[in-house]
Symmetry: C2
Subunit: 638 residues, 2 copies
């Protein structure tokens, strides 16, 4: 296999285009950045990855798969926080109007300056250009590179003062965490200009990444294309819990298209405007995040990069079993650990190489404020380490905000094994005097009295006790209440049911990114031959399992092609018949490029005795046997 | 099974909601018309229908499945005609602002008046209200009702003059074919007002049904959500033909989300704003639309409603084999006939009842101007006959317009078995004098000369012959050419290759409509019991194949649940474990409502001797056997 260093990406991209795994959408119209079409090979590979995903997660754990609307109303995404916060910052070349992502342009410029510094210092020390290049590659390989490559700045060999170099490096280490004001300040401080034209840039401006549209003919109902499939799952929580006969824990799942209107997408499938996600929302008791099947995965060894290591400025990974990671509290809880292990197994199953996979923990300042713990499965490609799966403990955030906004209770009611006694503040209202006193306001005052916090009850009880009157806030104004109307006291209550908002553990998969990584990990070049490409996909995801090749266009072969293809299909083996006029050798090479694991050749012996040749893609080994026996081999390997 | 007449739709809808097949999206936010979420049962049913579709069409015929972008640029949809023509007409209540689809509001009002007329006449004739209702139901059942029910007008028993009644009926028969001006005239002529408020309505105005958005941060690149998946396939024609080693005929296919911003969607899943289509584009030689596998389907009997029958004002269907229909030219060609037969087989396989399925041919005024022949698979539901699959011969229209607009050749080059000689007009340019004479314009003049039609060549040759000069249009202006610069004459050319733009046969499936029809066709009520719902889906599409039921929460059953569920999953049998506390009878009833064909019950005998009970959904028959034998039965029925 080709390794990540010195990876010949151009050659792979040529193969991807030639065998139509994918290509820019609307290419005959000039194409649009960030939109891609999957061709027959890419689409089949894609569908197979999704199918393995569905078997591995949904069927295995009886998850409740849903399929919700892409078009989403303003209210939903306002509540979830996407309307206000789902933005990147952009700035514009003040002369030619070119638009950049602010963080990317800062990165490009500072990295170019640091590179120039390195070259200047190396030149002083007498290193050759090759040595410098090798240093740089080694650096890049060690870097926590969650982004795809951005536009390169122009490298000029100028040495920097030590403190300047250090401030650049500090800035780059935190580049993901800056808000608009901070980005503006950085651009001013470091005099950042367009890396393309050298022109001045505008101040960074927030650009919301959701595609916007209008629903219906009135023009008054605003909608967005969903940026993730998760919200559709949260909104159905109540129905799903009921479908699950109110049993906890359980998970919902969804595979579907999502959209992000990227400012300037590059890097092929890694940063696109339209993509397929596969997301799981596993609902769990916040007081007990143990997992019943944790035992099945506890001995799996993970490669991890924990947050404390990153905080110390290092990127050294370590090997640890899931069981140990959870026991040592490196991974927060069993459920999170269980899913990280299951993600590991899934990626291995579809062909991601273990030595190019790591689980990186988010640092505290990277996570959303509500998240309890978050790990990314990062896959190493020629673009660096790419986040392909996120696995976050989102706590109760989403259900809480939607519940608050809609008034719909999104909770679990748990029958307690034994009733329990709790001390609670209780409010008694004297109906006789309360209504006449507050008239139309009576209901609002009563609601306000019932919704106080423990501290507020304590204060109110104290006021009533000592002064005979106290006050309560009703719609922003203080309203007086007297002890003749209201009694506030602590009492004990017996509860038979416990109500809670579950926590959500969310494994979230970017299928396109996984597919691209798999292409890189599967690709190699047969060197003993005339440099032929091979894509060694595991059989389970290969676009087609078998290729059927009649030796030539001879009429005698036709009935065999028909019969064998019928029997292969009946056995559930996906098939590509290649009866073109190319030589068998050329057709084998074509199969290798499509990653088809097996080829069956029909020749004149087949006509005589019913035997065929089976060729294995990776080894190129061939065996000859009756078609029936070959079919048996294929069935077993499927 | 419940029949289409007197169908209790409210009861089915209750079941659909209760078992979460689907529900309005964002329901806790109040929902939005025309947007639905599929719950676990609906999503699994949906995925299974798509999976059968993929096996039946894509794998069976080695179609080239693609997955193209939903977000589509303005240029593409301008060329395809959607920007200009993909509209419905809407009109507004001038007082309260309510918006109606113009054709729907005319239908509602005229049908209400006709109904009022019928009631008035019946009352005169002394019929009872029940008899009138029965007449109306029979009428409705016979009608060609391609639309979902629209808002009902208020029925007032007023008798109409015979000529008025006739003009209403004529108008209703053609309601699909009117343009904006005609709709306006009709609304004036028949004094159509809002059926809700009685207020005046605005003149009908075209409303484009595509959701619009902006791509990228500049705000200058307009995009639409695709209204069909077809265009993405046409744009990739060249790459697909190459992938197919230039072999013809071949088909591409795509399953994916499409969008239509309906003016006022109603009728549940039948008219929605976001939906999944499965479309096939089969490319075929326009001079030879025979199909190599036609023989396999020729004896299949179809129920058809041909255009000549409809033209004579009737809706009487007839039974005919595909072979005979093509031989008699009722169906235009073998390829179209082949796909109609394959659609018939597909719908039968997933459970659509044959006596509620017909193929209706489009009348000439219904078809797009470029279409050669078009048939809809219509399924009878409580909403009337619903178009669920279209099967059109789109001729070479799409490839031709995209090719013309982009300059990309979207053609097939066929190596001729024997070279052929053709007479062609030939243009010879005298390079010596041509360049100096036309200078900068030389290239444009040459191109214009090479692009004339046969008639234009004949005229030009005639002019040069008689006057020594002729003229040619270059960018809208006439340019003089003389015989000293140009010779135009007829000559023979030997061709080794034939170039042609293929015709496209397009079977196009609305998966949501098929799914809803299947729910109606599968639903019945067990009358010998306490009126229990059953959904008798064929095993191949049932949301879950098997339900696993431990008799109670007894700890002894747990290892058996674990073991059996593992083995069922390993055998590819999708599973729902129902270990809730409900009685076995109630859990069986729940399974019936989910359409699960088999239930396995684990009881104390299981603990003793490893036997289980298998219950069949439709018959409720039970057998007891070892788990291993039961598993064998399930495997065979899968």
């Amino acid at each position: 296999m080709a390794s990540a260093e010195n990876f010949d990406r151009a050659a792979l991209e040529q193969l991807i285009t030639k065998r139509f795994f994918y290509a820019p959408s609307f290419q005959i119209y000039g194409g649009v950045a960030g939109l891609y079409d999957f061709g027959p090979s890419g689409c089949a590979l894609f569908n197979n990855i999704v199918s393995v995903w569905r078997n591995h997660f949904v069927l295995e754990e009886e998850m409740l798969e849903v399929d919700t609307s892409i078009m989403t109303t303003y209210d939903v995404l306002k509540t979830s926080g996407h309307v206000d916060k789902f933005s990147d910052y952009m700035c514009k070349d003040l002369k030619n109007g070119e638009i950049f992502r602010a963080d990317h342009v800062i990165e490009a410029v500072l990295e170019a300056r640091l590179q120039g510094d390195k070259e200047a210092r190396s030149a002083k020390a007498g290193k050759t250009t090759e040595e410098i290049a090798a240093d740089t590659a080694a650096d890049a390989a060690n870097k926590v590179d969650k982004k795809k490559k951005k536009k390169k700045g122009v490298v000029v060999a100028v040495e920097l003062a030590d403190d300047v170099r250090q401030s650049y490096e500090e800035c780059l280490a935190q580049i993901d965490n800056f808000d608009g004001d901070e980005l503006t300040a950085i651009m001013k401080k470091f005099e950042i200009r367009s890396p393309e034209s050298g022109n001045e840039l505008s101040d960074p401006k927030a650009f919301n990444l959701m595609f916007e549209s209008l629903i219906g003919p009135t023009g008054q109902l605003k909608g967005f294309l969903r940026p993730e499939t998760a919200q559709g799952q949260f909104l159905n929580f109540k129905k799903l819990l009921e479908f699950n006969n109110d049993k906890m824990p359980f998970a919902s799942a969804q595979v579907g298209r999502s959209f992000r209107n990227e400012i300037s997408p590059r890097s092929g499938l890694l940063r696109v405007r339209e993509f397929t996600m596969a997301e799981i929302e596993h609902y769990v008791d916040p007081d007990n995040k143990d997992h019943p099947r944790f035992n099945e995965v506890k001995d799996i060894v993970l490669t991890i990069l924990a947050k404390d290591v990153q905080l110390s400025g290092k990127t050294t990974t370590s090997q640890i079993t899931v069981g140990e990671a959870v026991a040592k509290k490196i991974i927060d809880n069993e459920t999170l650990g269980y899913f990280i292990a299951r993600i590991h197994l899934f990626l291995a199953k579809i062909g991601i190489k273990n030595d190019r996979l790591r689980f990186r923990q988010h640092m505290d300042n990277e996570m959303a404020h509500y998240a309890a713990d978050c790990w990314d499965a990062e896959i190493k490609t020629s673009y660096g380490w790419i986040e392909c799966v996120g696995c976050a403990d989102r706590s109760a955030y989403d259900l809480t905000v939607h519940s608050k906004r809609t008034g719909e209770k999104l909770i679990v009611r748990e029958q307690l094994a034994e009733p329990r006694t709790v001390e609670l503040w209780q409010v008694e209202i004297n109906k006789k005097t309360f209504g006449p006193k507050y008239k139309k306001e009576a209901k609002a005052v009563e609601e306000a009295l019932l919704a106080l916090s423990d501290d507020q009850y304590a204060t109110l009880a104290q006021e009533l006790e000592s002064n005979g009157v106290g006050s309560v806030q009703v719609n922003g104004a203080a309203v007086e209440v007297g002890k003749e109307n209201v009694t506030v006291k602590k009492g004990t209550v017996t509860e038979h049911v416990r109500e809670y908002t579950p926590s959500v553990i969310e494994p979230s998969f970017g299928i396109g990114r996984i597919l691209y990584s798999l292409l890189e990990h599967s690709w190699w070049v047969r060197e003993d031959d005339e440099a032929r490409n091979v894509l060694s996909f595991p059989t389970i995801v290969a676009p087609f399992k078998c290729c059927l090749l009649p030796l030539s266009g001879n009429e005698q072969f036709v009935p065999f092609v028909r019969k064998f293809s019928r029997e292969l299909r009946a056995a559930g083996i996906s098939l590509r018949t290649d009866d073109s006029k190319a030589s068998i050798g050329r057709r084998y090479a074509r199969n290798d490029e499509l990653g088809i694991p097996f080829a069956i050749t029909i020749d004149f012996d087949t006509v005589q005795d019913g035997t065929v040749t089976l060729r294995q893609r990776d080894s190129t080994e061939q065996v000859r046997d009756s078609f029936e026996n070959i079919l048996k081999i294929l069935k077993e390997s499927n």
